[in-house]
């Protein structure tokens, strides 16, 4: 009864939530005096059949947890509801379980089976959330279950579940570090994942579980670089930080050739001017670098992978997430060649417009950067001007930056700006400004006197703090050249009457004592005044009075002997032991007695030795040994788990580790050679590709390989052969890097440099959509009736046939329509014309009834359309079949520019040129349709930017050029021109294309 009345009360409380006079929430305990009662009521609600009551109870329980109240005694009642159908209730039960499972292990185990069921749910969201909660239950007994669940989820179809699996890894690791090896296996697997969703999460797991296993990254490096731009922003931060570390261990220092002397100056010159200039500089530099690399004189050449990282991160400077921008900025600062670091300045300055907390952290990093690379931020000087609304911390940091940026040219502007800051009401800021003026004065000799005069004027300021701070700074400045400024010292001596700030008084006294010879008349008088007020002074002032007395005693003992004695006597009975000790020590040192030792002879030397002037330097001076953007840098102390940025290696580790595994037959012997080539051309697409911020490395290397093969084939026949095979292997490799859904499509596309070059201007991931949409034409090899249930179709897949570049790849689709299995499918008795060769497909051991399989064979047709005849054998039958290629399949696309095309065309005139007039089919009068039909008919590539529709290719065996031009006129009239050394091929090609265009 009491429980139900409590319940009513409670309802009243919760329904009042929407009332304006709402004071405290029902769960806060204000309504109920005893916890017991409240929980009783919650239990009842949880046990009820109504979802609404359960939900209400769960909300209140979660609210209790949220505020840090203990709700653990409700565990049994809550855990019962884990299988609740209502998703809202279920969700909140999960939240509760994650919080309390560790404390109530036995009861938590009751819920495990629900999650295990959830892991099998068809809904990916439920699978993921079950895994997430399961992995959050920190109970050691279920480690094997968790391990199993993670492993399974790592190969789940849904990338969202795989992502959750990646998140679960660090949880399991912290619960049971002994699972590390198994977990690393899972990480390795997930690192190879090609979806952007997973990439960020798995790198987080990698960083927590096994950051030392840098070798796991090698194979995924290029993929990560390429995916980066599409990864979710928090993942980007983690990946960029990890790649920074990786790059530091794998690449050479890009600045290693520049001598240390240049360090300060080179930056300044490069970074004036706007972005365009920078880009030009960059280009110029790259051109130079390229030239140098060609000549193979300059020892440093940037690894193309290093360049890839820099290029792919640069667009992220535009991110709206400050963390991403900073991550890229630190990457550039730590990894980029000096001339390129400038690009980050603008992005960082932009961050200064965001929340003050972000500003604070950005300014800390900028302050460090300005010490090393001053030139970078000079164009943005004005952005660091202080606004009256800035909080003090930010004002002080901006001052720091302005001081670091000051040089001979801008100092007058900066000083004028400082002058207005002194009027500010913020005392800390004013003090910092005065110190900043002092630092400018020490750093820049030209303005030292101006600054000093300005500071002396401040001595008459009404604000004591301003005066005091000025005194301290003047003291430091005077130490640099005291003899010139005795009038300033005199002026300051007068100030002792007015200034009360101890530090300032002490500074004045020290100055007078130090330079008492410059002010011989005033000094004893100051001492007299001070002796009078000695007992009322602060400790630091007292110490300086003793100091002054001692120095005067040594230089002018006649006038000051008594005064000194008096001061020392006062000090002898001071409350502070330090002052008493000092007085005793000085008396022994300067007053000659019979007992005094050898030291008193040197008293003058001791006291009046020439003191080195203090160096006013930035507090950020040695911060740069911490990685920028890290917490340690901000704190200027090592934070837990800080991983030091490794130094550049002396010699670059083997770059080939980043090459992705290729199928065994293409592990060509000339890998080293290829590598070398790639290095020679690292800037190939850079120089033209600056416009497209996201152009990928793939397109770079592809276009590079395209031109390679071009140059290669101009050499002798044997030479071109090896070139071709290299190219084949390279495109194989590159595609491994890529996220791809349809391998065949992709391969075909890689062989179509037309699209490739277009893709330079497009983001990486649109590559897939621009691959030719035309389906490959299928030909029948064996009809299912003649084949007694076995039907075979083939098509020319237009992908390179890797084992032999001179062969045309033929893809065969075997379908077993019969009711029984077909075994041992293979080829026999190949009958060929002379010169032709065949590479048979590997034997298919079993093709079960109703199944389909594919195999690839290669045929060298010797640039003729003669058929290849062979027998297709099964375990029971033999079928005679033949493959005859359309002429369009005897060639492969060849990439050339319009000019090259014209030049080559000029050389293939006369007999080698065939021209045909035609009327285009009504449906194919637009450019797109023409291109599509021609490329379907023949395996050619379009010449980019050509005025007419021009296509180029080479025959597969002899690499003869095949050039096709379609010139369109009004009303569908057109002229087709084919230039080809092989007249037979030319004639046949004209026929085929004619057919394609007119039907």
């Amino acid at each position: 009864m009491s429980a139900s009345s409590a319940f009513n009360d409670e309802k009243g409380g919760s329904s009042s939530v929407a009332e304006p006079e709402y004071g405290h929430d029902p769960a806060s305990g204000g309504i109920f005096s005893s916890d017991y009662k409240r929980h009783d009521d919650l239990k009842e609600m949880l046990d009820s059949n109504k979802d609404s009551l359960k939900l209400e109870a769960m909300k209140r329980i979660v609210a209790m947890i949220a505020r840090g109240k203990n709700a653990s005694d409700l565990f049994p009642a809550v855990v019962k509801n884990v299988a609740c159908k209502n998703i809202e209730v279920k969700k909140l039960v999960y939240v509760y379980l994650v919080r309390y499972a560790e404390e109530q292990q036995d009861l938590a185990l009751l819920s495990i089976s629900t999650f295990q069921r959830g892991l099998k749910d068809p809904n990916q969201l439920i699978r993921a959330s079950a895994l997430r909660v399961l992995s959050s239950i920190r109970v050691t007994i279920i480690v094997p279950i968790m391990m199993l669940a993670i492993k399974e989820a790592a190969s789940d179809m849904s990338p969202y579940v795989r992502k959750t699996a990646a998140h679960a890894i660090p949880k399991l690791y912290s619960l049971d570090p002994e699972q590390k090896d198994q977990l690393i296996e899972v990480i390795e697997k997930l690192l190879a994942d090609k979806t952007t969703l997973v990439a960020g999460s798995v790198v987080m797991a990698f960083e927590e579980v096994c950051p030392e296993r840098i070798d796991l990254i090698h194979k995924n490096y290029r993929k990560l670089c390429n995916l980066l731009i599409d990864v979710e922003e928090w993942g980007q931060v983690v990946i960029i930080n990890m790649l920074t570390r990786y790059a530091r261990t794998q690449f050479l220092n890009p600045n290693m050739n520049e001598s240390l002397l240049e360090e300060g100056n080179s930056g300044e010159k490069t970074f004036y001017g706007s972005d365009e200039d920078e880009d030009e500089d960059e280009e110029e530099k790259e051109k130079k670098a390229e030239a140098a690399a060609m000549a193979k004189r300059k020892p440093y050449v940037m690894d193309p992978d290093h360049r890839l990282l820099l290029r792919n991160t640069k667009p992220l400077l535009q991110s709206r997430n400050a963390a991403v921008v900073m991550a890229v900025a630190q990457l550039y600062f730590h990894l980029a060649p000096k001339a390129e670091v400038g690009v980050i300045a603008k992005a960082l300055v932009r961050l200064l417009r965001s929340h003050s907390e972000v500003q604070y952290v950005v300014l800390q990093n900028v302050a460090t950067m300005t010490i090393k690379r001053r030139g970078m931020f000079e164009p943005y000087l004005k952005s660091f001007y202080i606004r009256s609304t800035d909080p003090t911390q930010i004002k002080i940091l901006k001052l720091e930056v302005l001081t670091n940026l000051a040089n001979e040219t801008n100092i007058s502007t900066i000083l004028r700006e400082f002058q207005t800051y002194i009027k500010s009401m913020d005392k800390d800021f004013v003090a910092a400004t005065i110190q900043a003026i002092g630092r400018c004065a020490t750093n820049i000799g030209e303005v030292r006197d101006t600054c000093l005069n300005g500071l002396v004027q401040l001595l008459s300021n009404r604000d004591e703090l301003v005066v005091a701070e000025s005194v301290v700074v003047i003291k430091k400045l005077l130490q640099m050249q005291p003899e010139k400024h005795s009038d300033i010292i005199k002026h300051m001596a007068k100030l002792t009457d007015n200034i009360q700030v101890p530090m300032a008084r002490a500074s004045i006294l020290w100055l007078i004592g130090e330079y008492c010879e410059h002010v011989p008349k005033i000094a004893p008088d100051v001492l007299r005044k001070m002796a009078k007020s000695f007992t009322n002074e602060e400790d630091i002032v007292k110490l300086q009075i003793i100091n002054l007395a001692a120095k005067l005693y040594l230089t002018n003992s006649k006038q000051t002997k008594l005064l000194t004695q008096y001061v020392l006597n006062l000090a002898k009975y001071d409350q502070n032991y330090d002052i008493r000790d000092r007085a005793r020590f000085i008396r022994q040192l300067i007053v000659p007695t019979e007992k005094s030792g050898a030291l008193s002879k040197y008293a003058k030397k001791l006291f009046l030795a020439l003191k080195p002037a203090p160096v006013l330097e930035s507090p950020f001076k040695d911060r740069d040994h911490f990685q920028l953007g890290s917490l340690s840098h901000l704190l200027n102390a090592k934070a837990g788990g800080y991983q030091e940025l490794p130094d550049w290696p002396e010699a670059a580790p083997d770059p080939s580790v980043r090459n992705v595994e290729v199928p065994e037959w293409t592990k060509c012997s000339s890998r080293e050679k290829r590598k070398e080539k790639k290095v020679e051309k690292p800037f190939y697409s850079d120089s033209e590709g600056e416009s497209g911020p996201t152009e990928s490395a793939d397109s770079e290397s592809d276009s590079a390989s395209g031109s390679e093969s071009g140059s290669g084939s101009e050499e002798s026949g044997s030479g071109s052969e090896s070139e071709e095979s290299e190219e084949g292997s390279e495109s194989e490799e590159e595609e491994e890097d890529e996220e791809e859904k349809d391998k065949k499509k992709k391969k075909k596309e890689l062989k179509k440099p037309v699209q490739e070059t277009e893709s330079l201007l497009l983001p990486l991931f649109r590559l897939q959509t621009i691959s030719p949409s035309s389906a490959l034409k299928n030909y029948e090899l064996l009809h299912r009736i003649t084949g007694e249930g076995l039907s075979v179709e083939y098509c020319f897949s237009r992908q390179p046939f890797s084992p032999d570049a001179n062969m045309v790849a033929v893809q065969m689709h075997f379908t077993n329509n019969a009711t029984s299995d077909t075994k041992n499918l293979h080829m026999e008795d190949v009958k060929l014309q002379s010169g032709m060769r065949v590479k048979e497909f590997p034997e298919i051991e079993l093709l079960p009834a109703g199944e389909t399989t594919t195999a690839v064979m290669g045929i060298d047709f010797c640039d003729s359309t003669q058929a290849a005849n062979f027998q297709l054998c099964t375990h029971t039958r033999k079928f005679f079949v033949s493959i005859q290629p359309p002429v369009g399949e005897l060639m492969r696309p060849f990439f050339m520019t319009e000019n090259e095309f014209r030049k080559e065309q000029g050389q293939l005139m006369g007999m080698n040129e065939i021209t045909e007039k035609l009327t285009l089919d009504a449906k194919c009068r637009n450019e797109h349709a023409i291109v599509q039909r021609v490329t379907t008919a023949a395996n050619l590539s379009r010449v980019p930017c050509g005025s007419d529709k021009e296509f180029a290719g080479r025959t597969v065996t002899s690499s003869s050029l095949v050039l096709v031009t379609v010139a369109t006129k009004e009303e569908g009239a057109a002229q087709l021109t084919v230039n080809c050394e092989k007249m037979v091929i030319g004639t046949m090609l004209v026929k085929d294309i004619l057919l394609a265009l007119t039907q």
């Binding site: 709402y22 928090w234 930080n241 709206r320 963390a323 606004r387 300021n461 901000l634």
Partner: protein
């Protein structure tokens, strides 16, 4: 990696506490508050350490949003995350305040649970979170049409937290699915001006930061097109259209904005997700299209009785009818200790007072029409006034807000939604320019 997250009220009440990794006890909350309280100065440092635990916090909506970490994780990540979290809570609860948080403990805890997993940030996109968050927000007061009367009225303070749109736009995104028909969209063009005018009247620095924010309460809005002025140009080189150029130096867009029509027609296309988002941010430095809106002509002298006379003439250079200044607060900084102030102002609704702690004279002008001029004479009793101290007067700071005015001239030509919304839908476009820091040196 984030170890714990907690939200504290400005008085130190524990509102939300969530521990992700179990690395530190819950007593850190009080440790943090003690640290904040013992510090003097206007703002505690962003990062504070206690043993090997680091506190990183931001302040939003009068609350402390704190994350602790034991590892070296990027402070940017955490700060950015806390800001995003605050924005998310604001989206889900409608507004940010202690009361709002108290009413939505369960919702915020659930949000935290989804957003951070074991200290790792999973996602902060409200579109993704929509799939997971089940709890409905409780808002203090049902949304009523009366609030719309306030549309366009903004708080006068210049702090960012107060620049939030007025109450019409402060309702939780999720409740919109219950309330059904009220589909509304708010598009705000907010600009902040930073101007420094030298003592000779020269413009020394001018800087405008602007943003277009969209707050969307349309459950089924698939696409929205915002048309900007045709003359809008970015950078110095290009000039477009025939009218006066509307130029900005830099411009960045939310990632969801599609720009295919931007180059040709200056149209932003986006699919707004529920809640508030900044669609576009832009900056303009130094080269304002028009003269700064306010000029000051000060005369400062000493009268025979040893008093400091400040005669100030303030002129508003905005076109007469288009602008209506709501509030103008002026801080004139005089010399150190001022005993008394007497004033002569040009109209009775103005007021002026002396703030001894900040040593400032504050002149409040509630209404100021474009093209007019105001004047004021302040007489200050300053003991021991010398000619040197005359130098110490100033600068004058102005804070104001100008509704229906943008300093860059950016305008929204049209706002189209597709598919055409069924039922009544309202589209609001508002412009306002704030002073971020408007300083006139004397």
């Amino acid at each position: 990696m984030i170890s714990q997250i907690f939200i504290l009220s400005s008085k130190g009440d524990h509102l939300i506490y969530k521990d992700f990794r179990g690395e530190a006890g819950s007593d850190v909350v009080s440790i943090f508050y003690e640290k904040v309280m013992t510090l003097t100065g206007d703002q505690p440092p962003v990062v504070m350490s206690h043993k090997d635990l680091q506190f990183i916090h931001v302040r939003q909506g009068g609350l402390y949003w704190v994350a602790t970490t034991t590892a070296d994780s990027s402070p940017f990540t955490i700060i950015e995350f806390l800001n995003r979290l605050a924005a998310l809570v604001k989206d889900y609860c409608g507004s940010l305040s202690e009361k709002m948080v108290q009413m939505n403990f369960a919702l915020i805890y659930e949000l935290l649970d989804e957003v951070v997993d074991y200290g790792y940030i999973q996602t902060t996109s409200s579109d993704v979170l929509k799939n997971f968050i089940q709890t409905e927000a409780v808002s203090s007061r049902p949304f009523s049409l009366f609030d719309i009367s306030n549309v366009g009225l903004f708080g006068a303070e210049t702090q960012q937290s107060i620049v939030a749109p007025s109450s019409a736009a402060t309702r939780p995104i999720q409740s919109s699915r219950e309330q059904g028909g009220k589909s509304e969209i708010f598009v705000d063009v907010i600009e902040r001006m930073t101007i420094v005018i030298g003592s000779n009247g020269m413009l020394m620095k001018a800087d405008v930061e602007g943003e277009i924010t969209v707050k969307c309460y349309m459950p089924n809005c698939t696409e929205m097109r915002i048309g900007l002025n045709e003359e809008f140009s970015i950078g110095k080189s290009q000039l477009r259209g025939y009218g006066a150029a509307v130029r900005v130096d830099e411009c960045s867009f939310h990632q969801a904005v599609r720009l295919d029509e931007f180059d040709s027609h200056r149209i932003l296309r986006l699919c707004p997700s529920q809640g508030e988002q900044t669609v576009m941010q832009y900056q303009l430095s130094d080269d304002l299209p028009s003269a700064p809106p306010f000029r000051l002509f000060p005369t400062i002298e000493r009268d025979s009785g040893g008093r400091l006379l400040m005669y100030l003439k303030l002129r508003c250079d905005l076109p007469p009818k288009s602008c209506l200044l709501l509030k103008c607060v002026m801080y004139v900084t005089p010399v150190a200790s001022v005993f008394s102030l007497s004033q002569e102002l040009s109209s009775p609704d103005q007021s002026a007072e002396l703030k001894p702690q900040s040593r400032a004279v504050v002149w409040k002008v509630p209404r100021f029409t474009g093209g007019t001029q105001l004047s004021a004479l302040f007489k200050l009793d300053v003991p021991g006034l010398s000619s040197a101290s005359m130098q110490e007067v100033g600068p004058v700071g102005l804070s104001f807000e100008l509704p229906k005015y943008t300093a860059t001239g950016l305008q929204i030509r049209f706002l189209r939604l597709s598919p055409v919304q069924p039922g009544p839908s309202q589209r609001w476009v508002r412009y306002v320019t704030h002073s971020d820091s408007y300083t006139i040196r004397i």
